[in-house]
Symmetry: C2
Subunit: 132 residues, 2 copies
């Protein structure tokens, strides 16, 4: 249950994200891959679906955009919440993980008898360089 071999389209999308400075929307990825034969949004979305499933890519909900995971090994043991800081100035995204937050969230949610499937934590603001 490791990561399967990527198909051609999946590799192209993964490569585009991995070499990008920051997050990219599906349509931005499409534009970057036109020269490699991409013609339609679904080619991108289908590849992204798999890459998300494999944990190689994250979706940023507050941006409708995608980033390459910066520590894919962390996600092999499935448990674990991923959080992001997102700079409004330069677009830089930093992924981080914290057990204390996981534990606390997990306790609060259990108190509601709620069963978690996916947790989104995104912090918008300004990074050190971009702070006023």
């Amino acid at each position: 249950m490791g990561t399967p071999q990527l198909t051609k389209n999946q590799s192209l999308v993964m490569g585009a994200l991995a070499h990008s400075e920051g997050p990219m929307s599906a349509y931005t990825i499409l534009d970057k891959l036109r020269d490699q034969g991409f013609r339609a949004p679904l080619q991108v979305y289908r590849a992204l679906d798999k890459l998300l499933e494999y944990g190689l890519v994250h979706r940023l909900e507050s941006l409708n955009a995608f980033v390459a995971c910066t520590c894919p090994h962390e996600h092999e043991h499935d448990r674990g919440v991923t959080a992001f800081t997102i700079c409004e100035g330069c677009g830089q995204v930093t992924e981080f993980h914290d057990a204390a937050i996981e534990d606390r969230l997990s306790a609060l949610v259990r108190a509601q008898s709620f069963k978690t499937e996916k947790t989104t934590i995104e912090i918008r603001g300004h990074c050190k360089s971009c702070a006023a």
Copy 2:
């Protein structure tokens, strides 16, 4: 700097959200308000912008939808992170707040010298009633 008197459009949108069982997209709100004279998305989005500013409404990023705040008084003192559980089964959304999570997130972010402007925490899953 309390909440100003709402305009007609703002009141209508607020009313629609307040009387709704769960979150609604801007276009769903538009449809509900056609009988009151709403004709275009901008009428909804402009009202929502103000309601968000006043803290009467929250945007759910992972749903592209909006909910009425269940504890507007909490937001009067500006500080405070809002978190949500969102049931995939029945659509129920529960808003909650927790100082421990705020403090921990704040410390982690400070360690990056990151300046937070808005924090999104959304937990997708199944509520007690909808759990398998």
